[in-house]
Symmetry: C2
Subunit: 135 residues, 2 copies
Amino acid sequence: MLVRRPEEVEDQAMTMPGAQGVTMKLMVGRDDGVPNFAMRLFTVQPGGQTPKHAHNYEHEVMIVEGQAQVFDATIDSERPANAGEVLYIPANQLHQFRNTSKAPLRFMCMVPTSYDCSAPESDTSTPEFAPTPGS
Amino acid sequence: MLVRRPEEVEDQAMTMPGAQGVTMKLMVGRDDGVPNFAMRLFTVQPGGQTPKHAHNYEHEVMIVEGQAQVFDATIDSERPANAGEVLYIPANQLHQFRNTSKAPLRFMCMVPTSYDCSAPESDTSTPEFAPTPGS
């Protein structure tokens, strides 16, 4: 068993274009020998946001702390998501997390460790196809 | 995008032998079309416990609320785990969550949606090989 506290993990700035005030801790990932999916803890500072983007693998998310405004491509609009809520964002679906509150937003974002880097772009609007960071 | 609040999900009693005071909410799973892994939110009441068991797929866990005493087969003993901590339990490794505190324990437990039901028992002590509930 591996037990890891967030305090033990380096907080890495998200440098992808469009990201503002976002850091990520890779809680467990490929280097730990996990076979199927990685867990990443994101922090978005007040006024910050992740890029509005899509990629060829899904996200499963739990809001850990704070409030998010999440772009939901199925309604072509933002919707709020609060601590405790769970989100499933299918592959190739545009999404974005913004923090319009005055407190940090934290969410755990799970991604598969195996994804197809060589997959062709889908026919949806996909400004970026970034590989899964460190997963 | 699918957004699901814990309040919207049925809390199912865990009836596996050895479980006491444990309920589970399947936050996202196979029926939602997720391709790789399911998210289940467990609550363990004070004095409750999950079975001490192992199975042929891994767990990735985040303690959401409260305190757990977790059996860790790598040290053949229990260790504490608190809110915010992340655990990786490899396939076929014995594990158990006990709540010896006076407040409910909640943890998110992720499992792969694809697992090999027909795999032979491993050579570790595996009292049970239960399929992934509802994933």
